[in-house]
């Protein structure tokens, strides 16, 4: 439902009035493109209304049919949906490899899989969960939801975004194809040198791991940049910094962390590839290199990585808690500042992964202090969420249940993390199953539980249908029981001396019972995911229709249809409150004046969210897909011959030329 803007709304966002009314104005003394009078020959959204407007905009913004259309689309919702589905497929693959490992460890001296396959399995499990699920799933939700939540029609740099998806898909496909061909990497998701170096890992396995990092890096940074620009420049008029939804804040901080952290790991993996393929000795101590340099580079990325996985989850938790406690977030500013603090602090903790490498003691204890300090911003977030629930009227639907599960598990994992932050305690539990237990509490508690909640929460938006609530409750109880039965005993197995990454253990070690319990729990936990899969598939076909706002939530994505039309909104909303749909229960104020025939978006100012420019955004194009194919050939070829850099470049250059070929927009021609 839309209505004309009233004078009351105009007071709240004065600069919007001129855009809405076509009156010249904007910031005094600044001539803005938005001030230009609309071209009389171009149809604008104040000249048509109702179903005709919807249909015309859908045609302008829509994805064409057919394979070429599907591969050319730059619609953030189509790409976002593919991203989410792909990341969830990788979640299942990673989970499956974990179940096989648990089967192997169920009994001492078990012969289900040998050391070679086991090493591949845990490498694939870690790599998949961290690089092919953990990083992309947060970005996937950002791609789908951020443009909707900030009230715009597409993500910034939509072709780059499409390109990033294909690069991610090809990279993930490459490493799993290698695993299926029994040349999967077997050096761990961390691939420490010298074990992953040329001398101790001959063959292509470690190269495939390192090159997969390159794929993830390229796609991860591309999305992060798109998200940052979308949040800074494409917000709906009136969405000042303090009206940005908490989910969007989380994704924004997350994107910055990605931009600064991923270059460190690509440096590490590129150095590793150089040592392996062109004979440098960067990590070879015999030739003056340094094995520890690799660890510093890896963990300078690796610790922020944990927060890259956790930060989007804070966004899911915030969104779900606000909606289901029927109360606006308590401590909005504190929550945002905590996110920013977490983002900064996450770069100052990496050495706690290296406490047992014999670093200078004073330096190590600095990292004890900084690692413990990150409990403060996380504590603030936990307390603010609890306060929001406290003063609310909780509605116990499946999304909220999973968020409650998140509290139980994540807080336990965070507290065992405080033990790991202590240098002396870490010297006992580092690289044991205690650490395995800890980070599964943190990552499954801190990412997967909120993710499942988020999927139950936004599934109606993605598909237009509700997921089954009854199956959802079963799923929750199976998941939380299965998880704890699987992972709690690992704390004890670790303290009893069981190191990580062992493919078996002697019967006389006395770890058999605890391992068997863990395996049973893991099977139960995996079973809960099969139920989840069943729920998703059946609900997508037969679930009850959702309507645009089934949860009576307050943020802008619920103002669009379910699933959203290609243009997201027929007219761009004007934001007067942090929870626009709660503040404007009857109808949402909107601005008009954008082209109906061209892909026009409002570009707004960074802090105040003033409408500043009308800007066209790219049309569909096949070139990003072709560029991704070209870069995949180049990356894979370069593992086998350095000449791939030579013959692989022209096709990529051609694809990029096609992509960026200057094309006058219809508006410019006029």
């Amino acid at each position: 439902v839309t209505r004309a803007i009233t004078s009351h709304d105009l007071d709240a966002v004065p600069e919007v009035t001129r855009l809405a009314t076509g009156e010249r104005g904007g910031i005094p003394g600044v001539q803005s493109e938005a001030d230009a009078p609309p071209s009389p020959r171009e149809l604008r959204d104040d000249q048509v209304d109702g179903p005709e407007l919807t249909a015309r905009l859908a045609k302008t913004w829509g994805t064409e049919k057919g394979l070429i259309g599907a591969l050319s689309t730059v619609d953030h919702k189509v790409i976002g949906r593919r991203y989410i589905i792909t990341a969830i497929i990788f979640l299942f693959l990673g989970g499956l490899s974990a179940v096989v490992m648990r089967m192997q460890l169920a009994l001492p001296e078990n012969n289900l899989v040998g050391p070679d396959l086991y090493n591949q399995l845990f490498t694939m499990h870690g790599t998949t969960m961290m690089f092919l699920f953990g990083v992309p799933i947060g970005e996937a939700f950002a791609v789908y939801l951020v443009p909707l939540m900030v009230g715009t029609r597409n993500i910034a740099f939509p072709r780059l975004n499409a390109f990033s998806y294909y690069v991610y898909l090809f990279g993930g496909f490459m490493i799993w194809a290698a695993f299926m061909l029994n040349i999967g990497p077997d050096v761990g998701w961390f691939a420490y040198v010298p074990l992953s170096g040329p001398e101790f890992s001959p063959g292509k396995r470690a190269d495939i791991w390192a090159q997969m990092i390159t794929f993830t890096e390229v796609s991860g940074i591309a999305v992060a940049i798109s998200v940052v620009v979308t949040v800074f420049k494409l917000r709906a008029p009136g969405m000042t910094l303090d009206r940005i939804p908490l989910f969007v804040w989380a994704e924004l901080i997350n994107s910055f962390v990605i931009i600064f952290a991923l270059p460190a790991v690509v440096t590490a993996s590129a150095f590793l590839l150089m040592d392996r393929l062109v004979g440098t000795h960067l990590f070879n101590p015999a030739e003056g290199g340094d094995a520890l340099l690799y660890q510093h580079l890896f963990w300078f990325f690796g610790h922020p990585e944990v927060y890259i996985i956790f930060l989007p989850a804070t966004g899911w938790v915030s969104a779900i808690i606000v909606t289901f406690s029927r109360r606006q977030a308590f401590g909005y500013i504190a929550l945002v500042l905590s996110l920013i603090a977490t983002g900064f602090l996450s770069f100052g903790l990496w050495v706690h992964h290296m406490f047992t490498t014999g670093l200078p003691q004073l330096g190590a204890s600095f990292f004890t202090a900084s690692s413990m300090l990150i409990a403060i911003p996380n504590g603030i977030q936990i307390f603010c969420w609890i306060a929001t629930l406290w003063d609310g009227r909780p509605v116990f639907r499946t999304p909220l249940l999973f968020v409650i599960g998140f509290f139980f598990i994540f807080v336990a994992g965070g507290l065992s993390g405080i033990m790991l932050a202590s240098v002396p305690l870490d010297s006992q539990v580092h690289d044991t199953f205690f650490v395995v237990a800890h980070f599964h509490y943190v990552l499954i508690g801190g990412n997967v539980f909120p993710l499942i909640g988020a999927i139950y929460y936004w599934f109606p938006k993605f598909t237009g249908r509700m997921m089954s609530e009854r199956l959802g409750k079963w799923h929750f109880w199976l998941a939380i029981i299965g998880f704890n039965v699987a992972f709690f005993p690992m704390h004890i197995t670790g303290l009893m001396g069981m190191p990580r990454r062992v493919y078996t253990y002697l019967p006389e070690m006395g770890w058999g019972n605890l391992n068997l319990i863990s395996t049973l729990g893991a099977v139960l936990f995996f079973g809960s995911f099969l139920l989840f899969l069943y729920n998703m598939v059946t609900s997508a076909r037969r679930g009850s229709l959702a309507g645009s706002n089934p949860w009576d939530a307050g943020t802008l994505e619920w103002a669009s249809a379910s699933p959203p039309t290609p243009q997201n909104f027929d007219r761009i909303p004007v934001v007067t409150n942090r929870e626009p749909l709660w503040a404007n229960r009857d109808s949402l104020p909107v601005v008009a004046g954008l082209s109906v025939e061209n892909r026009e978006q409002i570009v707004s100012t960074v802090t105040a969210g003033r409408a500043d420019l009308r800007e066209t955004t790219p049309e569909s194009s096949l070139w990003p897909f072709l560029a991704a194919v070209a870069i995949t050939i180049l990356f894979i070829g370069s593992m086998f011959t350095p000449w791939a850099l030579v013959w692989g470049t022209p096709p990529l250059a051609l694809a990029l030329i096609g992509w960026f070929w200057p094309k006058a927009s219809t508006e410019d021609e006029r």
Partner: protein, 334 residues
């Protein structure tokens, strides 16, 4: 509430972890004891924090707002009370974190300030066994063994850690925390045992195919027993006197065994694999994998890759009548 019951059941399990020959909770020396004490302090403090947080979460789940209330409405009194409560909670969190950091720092200083010890060992991690060299001021009293460390009780023993191929990590949880052995570097670690006993250690840094079978034993014994053991280890292997052992020695010396293994007192002088001079006196073979019996030695020689797939020891072609004498000879190298 149902969730809590399995939790409590599971919480009672740690008691099971208190005993064991490779357990961080069964401390048998001053450093391990300090660590175990600190661990339980952390568990108590952090466990309390968890319980309090979860209690406040469960209390927060009551419906305090009237049905149909405006979700944007806030009550200034409630806001103020919640702000104050959260501020107190944050202050308490900060206090806990600062005190735990202080506790950790104190323990760290105590743990890593090495005392002068009578004994210094160099332990070199290799794929997938431990080479152990007992240092001494007299070069003639320096000797090398593998996978089994004897130490006198009540004395700090300094261990210098090196690695010859990839990164390994030396960890004997009953005695102290772990320390990595990194190629191109030397790390130091001090261990001490209170009373005689056998403790197990294991490599804790992933090091390739047989990371799981890279164990070692630490045997703490009285000063006298230790000196007796050391003097025996320094000596060369005695020539065998019964015919089967002599036959075994001939087999050993005529086969590729000598390319990698050393038996002091014979022509076998290989240095890339464990020293076998007194292999029969060690309790385990294959780096803590099989107990030292004649049958296990034979099994290991016939098919090392069946026991430790991927191990660096090759399968040697032996005639059926060569296996038993060879195993007897090696078992007899006490």
């Amino acid at each position: 509430m149902k969730r809590v019951v399995p939790f409590l059941l599971i919480l009672s399990l740690p008691l099971a972890g208190c005993q064991g020959w490779q357990s961080a909770l069964d401390a048998q020396g001053p450093p391990a004891r300090a660590l175990a004490d600190m661990f339980w302090i952390f568990v108590a403090v952090l466990g309390t924090v968890w319980v309090l947080t979860m209690a406040s979460l469960l209390l927060a789940l009551r419906k305090r707002r009237p049905a149909g209330a405006d979700p944007l409405a806030t009550d200034p009194g409630t806001e103020r009370r919640m702000t104050i409560t959260i501020s107190i909670a944050i202050a308490l969190t900060l206090a806990i974190v600062v005190s735990l950091t202080g506790l950790s720092y104190a323990a760290q200083k105590a743990l890593f300030s090495h005392k002068d010890g009578a004994l210094t060992l160099t332990v070199t991690g290799q794929q997938w066994w431990w080479k152990i060299t007992y240092e001494d001021e007299q070069p003639s009293r320096v000797f090398t063994t593998a996978n089994e460390i004897h130490i006198p009780v009540g004395e700090p023993v300094l261990i210098k850690l090196e690695a010859s191929d990839v990164i390994h990590s030396f960890w004997v949880p009953n005695l102290t925390g772990k320390m990595d052995a990194i190629p191109g570097r030397q790390n130091q670690l001090q261990i001490q045992a209170d009373r005689p006993g056998v403790y197990r250690g294991q490599c804790a840094e992933f090091c390739g195919l047989q990371h799981a079978h890279m164990g070692m034993l630490i045997i703490a014994e009285t000063k006298e027993d230790f000196e007796r053991w050391r003097n025996h280890q320094i000596s060369s292997a005695l020539p065998p006197n019964d015919p089967e052992h002599q036959r075994g020695m001939e087999v050993f010396l005529s086969k590729p065994c000598v390319m990698c293994h050393q038996v002091r007192g014979t022509d076998a002088g290989g240095k890339v694999a464990p020293d076998l001079t007194h292999v029969g006196s060690r309790r385990y073979i294959g780096a803590g994998t099989l107990e030292t019996t004649r049958g296990n030695i034979a099994a290991w020689i016939i098919d090392p890759h069946g026991v430790k797939p991927g191990v660096n020891m090759p399968t040697i072609q032996l005639e059926p009548d060569e296996v038993q004498p060879l195993a007897s000879y090696l078992e007899g190298l006490k």
